[in-house]
Symmetry: C2
Subunit: 226 residues, 2 copies
DNA sequence: CAGCTATATTGGACAGCGTACAGTTAACGA
DNA sequence: TCGTTAACTGTACGCTGTCCAATATAGCTG
C-alpha cells in the first residue's frame, strides 16, 4: 500500500531546485490521492476534518483500525500533520467520545416527570451508543467521557433527580448507577466480539426491551428511596 | 489475529494440569539478570510462571505496561520464548481474565434463596474485580470473560434463577443485566483514571453500598417478574 | 504593496510494539 | 544410543505514536 511514490520525477527529497509543481488552487482534500506536497505547503486541514475522518475511520474499521498513520493517509497528509490540530491520539479519541454525546436527546427542563425524563435520557444515550458500537469499549475503558457534552448531560440528570427530591450524595449514587448501567448494557449489546458466548444472539429489539426493563427496575428503586 | 500455527507451538490448553515435572531448580527466573543463554538452552519457563508474571506486570504497570517484551524481560527470556507457552498476547490476557474469576465465591447449590444466592455471587464478583482494578477495563473491552471459569459462573447464576422460577430467555435477560451491572459498576468504582469528574471520590464503602443498593433494585425487579 | 512572523506541513527518524522464521540445543521416548 | 519434539535465541519485518528540523505558506503589520 505504501510507496505509491514511483513517481517518474522527483523521488528525491532534498533536491530542491525550482520546479514549482502545479499548485492546487482550491486544493480540497483528496480522497484517495497521495499527497504530492513539499514540506511547507498547506493541505487545508482543519480540526473538524480530522475529527470527522477519525470518526469515520473508527466506526468503519474499528478501534484497531484507527491509527494516526491510516488517518493521515485518508486525509492525504503526512502523519505528523495531524499533530497541528490535535494534541495526540488519546486527545483525539477523547474529543471523539464527547462529540458523539452531543446527539443524546434530553427532556425539556420543564418536564415534571423525572422518571420519564430520566428514561428518555438513558434510552437516548443507549441508542446513541449503539449507533457507534466501536466507541463503546472506549467509553468503558475510559470510564465514560469527560468533555463538555458529558458534563452537560450529567447536569441534566441531576436536575431530573432533584425534581424527584433526590439530591446530594443520593443523587450522585443514582446517577452513577444509571450511567454505569447504560454504558455497560450498550457494551454487552454491542456485537463486536465473537459473542457466541452461550446462546443465539439476541435481536436488538430484544436487547432494547431487556435494557428498558432493567432501567425501569433501577428507576423504580431510585424513586422509592426518595 | 494470532494464527499460532506452526506445529511446535502448541501451548497445551489449560485443562488438567498433570503433575509438574522436575524443573531446573537453580536457574528459576532471574529477576534483573540478563539472559546469558545460547539458542537451544532451556529457561525453565512454565505456563503458570508466564501467567503469574503477566498478572503481576499488569496490576503493577497497567494495561499499557503489559507488553510481551517487558514480560519477557521480567522472565529473563527472549520475547519469542513466551509464544511457546501462550498463543499470543490476546490469548494471554484472556487466560488472565478467566483466572481471576476463579476467586469468585458461589453459594452452595442447595441454597434455597435465589435472591441471596445471586446477591452473594454478584457481590463476590464485584469484590474480586475490585481486587484487580487494571483488569476491569479489559473485561469491559472484551465484554466479559469467556473462559471456563466465566462459563461456570454463568451456570451457577442460571441455577439460581431457575430456583426462582426464571428460565429461558427471561433468565438470559436477567443474567445479562446482572453481569453488565456488576462489571460496569466495578469499572466506575475503579479509580484508575483521573476520576475528578465532578466531586470528591466516593469511599469504597460508599461505593459498595451504592452497588448493593442498585443490585437489590435489580433483583427485586427480576424476581417480581417471575 | 513589502516584509515579518507564526504555523501548517513534510521528510526523516527513534524507540517500541507483536510476532513470524529459522536455526540451536535440551529433554524424552524408543 | 538415537531420533524426535519442544523450548529457546537471534534476527527481522511491518507496524505503531510521536518528536525534530527544515520549509513554504498565510496573515498581519507597516
Amino acid at each position: 500500500m505504501e510507496t505509491a511514490r514511483t513517481g517518474p520525477t522527483h523521488a528525491a527529497q532534498r533536491d530542491t531546485d525550482v520546479e514549482t509543481p502545479p499548485r492546487p488552487p482550491h486544493n480540497a482534500r483528496a480522497a484517495g490521492e497521495q499527497a504530492a506536497r513539499t514540506p511547507g505547503q498547506r493541505a487545508g486541514l482543519t480540526r473538524e476534518a480530522v475529527l470527522a475522518t477519525a470518526h469515520e475511520l473508527l466506526t468503519e474499521r474499528g478501534l484497531d483500525g484507527l491509527s494516526m498513520r491510516e488517518l493521515a493517509r485518508r486525509l492525504g497528509v503526512a502523519p505528523n500533520a495531524i499533530y497541528s490540530h490535535v494534541a495526540g491520539k488519546t486527545a483525539l479519541v477523547d474529543d471523539l467520545l464527547d462529540e458523539v454525546l452531543a446527539a443524546v436527546e434530553t427532556p425539556d427542563a420543564e418536564t415534571n416527570d423525572p422518571t420519564s425524563g430520566l428514561t428518555r435520557i438513558m434510552t437516548s444515550t443507549y441508542r446513541v451508543l449503539l449507533d457507534h458500537p466501536d466507541l463503546v469499549p472506549l467509553y468503558l475503558a475510559r470510564q465514560g467521557a469527560r468533555g463538555p457534552n458529558a458534563q452537560a448531560l450529567g447536569e441534566v440528570m441531576f436536575a431530573q433527580l432533584a425534581q424527584a427530591g433526590i439530591t446530594g450524595s443520593a443523587a450522585h449514587e443514582a446517577r452513577r448507577v444509571l450511567i454505569v448501567y447504560t454504558i455497560g448494557f450498550a457494551a454487552l449489546a454491542t456485537p463486536t466480539a465473537s459473542d457466541a458466548s452461550d446462546d443465539r444472539p439476541l435481536s436488538s429489539a430484544e436487547l432494547f426491551g431487556n435494557f428498558t426493563a432493567g432501567l425501569a427496575w433501577l428507576l423504580n428503586g431510585i424513586m422509592s428511596d426518595a
